[in-house]
Amino acid sequence: MDKVIGIDLGTTNSCVAVVEEGTPTVIPNRGGYRTTPSIIALSETGKRLVGHIAKRQTVTNAENTAYSVKRLIGRRFDAPQVKTMAEGVPYHIVEGPHGDVRVTLRDKVYSVPELSAVVLQEMKLVAEERLGEEVRKAVVTVPAYFNDNQRQATKDAGRIAGLDVIRIINEPTAAAMAYGFGKNLERKIAVFDLGGGTFDISILEIGNGVYEVLSTDGDTFLGGEDIDRRIIDWLAMQFDEEYGIDLRRDRMALQRIKDVAERAKCEVSAVKEAEINLPFIISTQHNEPLHLQRTLTRKKLEELTTDLIDRALSICQRALDAEDIDKREIEDVILVGGQTRMPKVQQRVAEFFGLEPCKGVHPDEVVALGAAIQGAALLDDKSEMLLLDVTPQALGVMIEGGYFHKLIEKNTTVPTSKHHTFTTVRDNQTSVKIMVMQGESIRAEDNELLGEFQLTGLRKASKGQVDVEITFEISADGIVSVDAKDKETGLAQSITVTAKSGLTEEEIRRMSADEHGYAMAVRSGEEFERHKQQVERIVIEVEQLFPKVEEIIGASDPGKDAVGKARQALDRTRAAMASGELHTLLDSAEALKRTAQMFRGVVSKSGLG
């Protein structure tokens, strides 16, 4: 059976897991870290960097380092969230050919799915190294509030990375699956997911291995980064007061403050206070160096962020209210996301639900584990686990007056099918335009347009006399189809709604091919590197033996000849090592191995004699 990996493609960090012999396990990357920063950079030499290496060079190469791209995925360039992002990040966000978002790193323009694909590709490589085989299938997680366009863009990113994304599932749902794995539970739980960039809350019912999502809600712009920003603002404002300089205007200073703010935030989760010390943070007009020194106490941080936690809890209440659930019905709370390590968050969540959050799950790994579990559950027909997923946002059509008529409510279990009968609004109306939309606003224009089509050839009649039945269907894999039918004549028209990721099929294919080429290059590069290291050992040995051998046999003519040949072999091998070509290296190494053998023979004979 094909192995399927689970990938938590996070805003700040990503994680990959697999179910091996029935046990879900996180796969650490080459550096031994269990999560990998979702950061992509292009170095000065045009080399692509991902993960920890990319993160480490962020300070010096800020303009060419893309982070938090998940906040951009599947969005249109003119979306307000994109504008906010563009103002706040050092890398350049530009408009793509389809009104989509692109990012420039050095002189190259990347689409957002391409950047996410780089991270997915990295996770794929990490998994392949561990499993020792090629991985083709993956379950990838997204926030529960992601709309269909954002989900599609994430799927496209998978395709570009050479992965068949067999299912997109919600992060909190994945967390719940990991939580319930291997236990026979029957209970209602809440998943509180406060990650780097976003907040998600989901209420689920578990029973008999079935996971049913009851309610989800969230906020796209509420997470650890917002807490960091509070610390940054606090530091910068005090500095401004003292010296009249806004550090946030200096990119290098800002980056250093960002790093230190994040570190201090993590520290005060464990201890009561953290020292912040940034010498030579900036110079005055008179070239005088200034330093930043402060102490961040846990209490101060809590004070700075009370309203953020309040906001998260009010969203929890909204999620409960939406499905008429009393918070006392919740029997366990799972904390997900690094930000839930903050003691104040834990305390407030405990107070809100009136119970201690579950300690058994790892907030950074639980989502990837759940994704791997769902992947295995789908492929294994004997699996006892089944996920009943729900629609993230309402689906419907635009009706007269620019209003949005919901046919499928948010939080509806899929697969589902709903229909509604509309009537004509004008006399002798012979066609209707069906605009399929997704969103929660009553005004159609505030929602996302997923697709449109026309039903023409209606019989002529006065208004209100022709009935058109519209049916929405969502399959288990999330494919939406819409059908419009004149009930009297049977005349019908339908479409399968394809969400728009911002890329054309052609572009995705080309990017996928490029990425495949890149992966091959990386892989062969790695192979060369491995051989080079072996050859290097032989080179060193020959070099060390060289003077001795020359001394022993260099006097005779045949000896001189042999030494000359040995030198040639050595030089050729050195050149091959620099060439980067694998077969040249292997050829020359063969010759050098023979030389080494000969050298060893000469030395040992002379030693014995």
Partner: protein, 375 residues
């Protein structure tokens, strides 16, 4: 992985063949007459001399109305074992006639926990994800339809408000069906022994079609699509004009349709009002008053117009509400308020007094007190 039975499918006639209430086409009847319990589907296709598709469709129809058993020789290219195929087919065929309790396999009094358990258990059998990556052929759509119906049953039965009314209705319906079946058994002679006169046939067909429309209408009514329900019932009446039951159902559906769209317009109006788009809100409130003949939308519109100071419209609607439902104190009170704001003290007092007369607990007394103290 495909498990296919080597045996050919042999349709068998059901014991006690009963054509009561079944409408068949001549070709379906003909196919039925060829079924002997030995010939396989393939053989029947050859025997009948009809196009193969027509024969197969006829067999499906005969199986679906319960006249023959069509044991499933597995369909080609489907990775489901025969047992599973049969379970899916059976439920799929029967689910249209099943009420929500039967659908989940729970008792009418089942509590939320039992319903959830039943739903989860059924999901594990019928959710399409259970068969991920398998070739399902036509079973994919069947599974999806079954699961949709299961979810519908589950959601509905967990909704306490909608459920209690439904429960009463279902129990009543079951009783009626039993009674009707008993009556039919007593009254109806077996149809094959008494062939219908040729002239009677179209009429019978029409009335059976009408019945199908009426059933569809009632189903839509239950599912909450009142417009569709009214439409189906209108068709039923067109086919069977004398049926008073259909006419009553049609009227009820129309009323519900009016109510629900009026409610929707009011909801939209409120949202527009909250967003401070008063013109749009006004248009929506007006529209709400034009569907269905209820007083509520007029009262809501009156209050809205009063809030935004358009007193003439407020008075019109408030008055209309009292005309449509003269016995309701609230409407008279609303009208009294409009009059009071407009400065028609006498009329206001009169309406307030009527309100108080109709309902001694009405807050109209406070309005009256205000008049006393104000003057």
């Amino acid at each position: 992985m495909a498990q296919r039975s080597k045996q050919p499918t042999v349709p068998r006639p059901r014991a006690g063949l009963n054509l009561q209430g079944v409408v068949l086409t001549p070709s379906e009847m003909y196919v039925l007459s060829r079924i002997d319990g030995f010939s396989s589907v393939d053989q029947l296709c050859q025997i009948t001399g009809l196009p193969e598709r027509e024969t197969r469709a006829a067999l499906q129809k005969l199986a679906s109305v319960g006249l023959v058993d069509l044991p499933m020789g597995a369909e080609d290219g489907v990775d489901l074992d025969v047992e599973r195929q049969r379970a899916i087919l059976e439920l799929h065929e029967r689910m249209r006639e099943m009420d929500f309790f039967e659908m989940l396999g729970v008792e009418a009094g089942a509590d939320a926990k039992a319903i959830r358990r039943a739903y989860f258990k059924a999901s594990k059998q019928f959710h399409p994800d259970r068969y991920y990556g398998k070739r399902l052929g036509p079973f994919k759509a069947r599974l999806e339809e079954i699961f949709v119906r299961l979810s519908q049953a589950h959601d509905f039965l967990l909704d306490a408000k909608r459920r209690s009314a439904y429960e009463a209705q279902i129990l009543g319906e079951r009783q009626r069906q039993e009674d009707a079946a008993k009556a039919a058994r007593v009254a109806a002679p077996a149809p094959e022994r008494q062939p219908d006169p040729a002239a009677e046939k179209p009429k019978r067909a029409a009335s059976s079609k009408a019945r199908a429309f009426s059933e569809e209408g009632l189903r839509e009514l239950r599912a909450g699509d009142y417009t569709a329900a009214a439409l189906a019932l209108r068709r039923a009446i067109a086919l069977d004009r004398d049926n008073l039951g259909y006419q009553a159902q049609y009227k009820a559906a129309l009323e519900r349709a009016g109510e629900s769209s009026a409610d929707e317009y009011i909801k939209l109006g409120q949202a527009e009002e909250a967003a401070d788009r008063m013109d749009a809100a006004a248009a929506l409130y007006e529209r709400a008053t034009r569907v269905g003949g209820r007083a509520e939308p007029h009262a809501a519109a009156a209050q809205f117009f009063l809030r935004i100071g358009r007193l003439i419209e407020a008075k019109e609607h408030a008055m209309r509400a009292t005309q449509l439902e003269p016995g309701r104190a609230d409407w008279h009170l609303a009208l009294a308020r409009v009059y009071a704001v407009a400065g028609f003290a006498k009329q206001a007092r009169r309406e307030a007094e009527i309100a108080l007369h109709l309902d001694p607990a009405s807050p109209a007394d406070r309005l009256l007190e205000e008049f006393e103290s104000g003057k």
